[in-house]
Point group: C2
Chain length 280, copies 2
């Protein structure tokens, strides 16, 4: 692992790091904020998964998480959203597939299956690297994200309820199997058999018996992707049927941007902190 | 004036606007955050002047000012740092001159004197436009900025002490006439006669009798430009001699970036709010 940059911020350190990923077979970059409390003890860690077109940098620059994370003593890790590089199969003019659009799945279809293994990267490789490199308490992990990253957070928590104590999302894609902007990517990454898609679809996972203790979701009512791609009411229905606690806040007048995310960032961090510090 | 974008954020509205500037003879873009309180009454306004290479967008995205501005009821205006356009004289490969480097002066030397009139733009044209377009109380104005924009804020406040009730700066260039990274720009904008430069040099303005009631300056000790370009001790000496109150905070380990600015942004907004609400 090499250090790309480090800067003091809000009493902690905001760093950017790069490493050779064995899961994705390419160089990967990620951001880590280490709060001041980490000088004295391992801190709980929250994973922030970003949306389509983003790298690790978007939320690091625009997410406004450091003030509250420093107050609460949370490490915040912000991974990239896909493998990247000249040798990686991609569709240059398609922002909904390939670079910046890994959808947090392990692709099974060639030529994508060699590199597009973001599920394994997020759930296995990166936690191992972070765990041995930064002062984190891996017994206390939370996960959240935005849009495609909200989808990533919900599905990863549902598939690994013993790993994460908390999960939240900003404007998540809750049913990617049937959303116009994610269905073509699922076909290319996972093949034609839609049964295989259910392992990466939050609504389908709940229908299929996966459980998590409670979710927080914020969604802007002025979000241009609400009807076509996001449809949080589908997740509300699935959670209601399954008896899963879901706090769904419909935020009047907010759109899909970081101006929305940053507004509710501190509430989400407080949600995670409450659950991550339980027992301590 | 035309609206480029508007998004709800922290209960207020973050907008970006463009207009044809008569001062700079080109299209100019600026950002305005209007807090929720402005729905009920005109709000005090703080002007944030950005540093070299920046546009209105950098601090809008990375400055983390909206949460506190919304709490305090402050309008925040973020202008661009120079005229821009294909017809504007520029030195493409020089980040310390031309586009992104207007230095908040009115250039007197051709070919720059037609467009590089950022002093008039900031002190006259933009306030008139903002005053008639947004719910601001122009009797309550503050000004602050970063680096080149800190220089802008200090000099503009010193030259217009009746206009501004508050002034602060992050890592300002306090003596641009003698700093390696600003002296060449002053020569090109203002000519060889260094007497003319004193009107745009905070230390020289204080020496020449200009006064302001009090300043707040934050400066990181790990700032790579500290010795060569910033040298806040020169301003401290000038203020001490003149009996001007200066709060100069040397911040251990902080650099010149927005990770530094955003850390102390809320303290600066509180400084302005205290002075802008006096009497109300």
């Amino acid at each position: 692992m090499k250090t790309v940059s480090e800067a003091k911020s809000h009493g902690g350190v905001q760093g950017v790091y790069a490493h050779v990923s064995s899961a994705c077979h390419c160089d990967m970059t990620f951001a880590v904020f280490v709060p001041p409390q980490a000088a004295h003890r391992p801190c709980p860690v929250v994973w922030y998964l970003s949306g389509l077109t983003c790298t690790h940098a978007n939320v690091m620059e625009k997410g406004e998480y450091r003030r509250k994370a420093a107050e609460l003593g949370l490490v915040v890790v912000c991974p990239d959203t896909s493998p990247r590089g000249e040798s990686i199969p991609d569709e240059k003019d398609n922002w909904q597939f390939g670079s910046g659009a890994g959808f947090y799945v392990d692709a099974t279809q060639p030529p994508f299956s060699t590199h597009y293994r973001m599920y394994s990267y997020i759930i296995k490789e990166l936690p191992e690297l972070v765990g041995k490199t930064f002062p984190v308490d891996l017994k206390r992990q939370g996960i959240f994200g935005h849009s495609m990253g909200g989808h990533g957070a919900l599905t990863i928590a549902l598939k690994n309820p013993g790993r994460f104590r908390s999960c939240s999302a900003f404007a998540p894609i809750v049913a990617p199997s049937s959303a116009g902007w994610s269905k073509p990517a699922f076909e290319k990454y996972l093949g034609d058999d839609q049964a295989a898609w259910r392992a990466y679809d939050a609504c389908a996972l709940v229908e299929d018996g996966h459980r998590f203790h409670d979710f927080l979701v914020d969604q802007g009512t002025a979000d241009g992707f609400l009807e076509e791609g996001l449809r949080p009411w589908l997740f509300r229905e699935a959670c209601e049927k399954a008896g899963i606690a879901l706090t769904l806040n419909m935020r009047e007048g907010y759109d899909h941007s970081y101006f929305f995310i940053s507004t509710f960032m501190e509430e989400h961090l407080a949600w995670h902190a409450e659950r991550l510090n339980a027992g301590h």
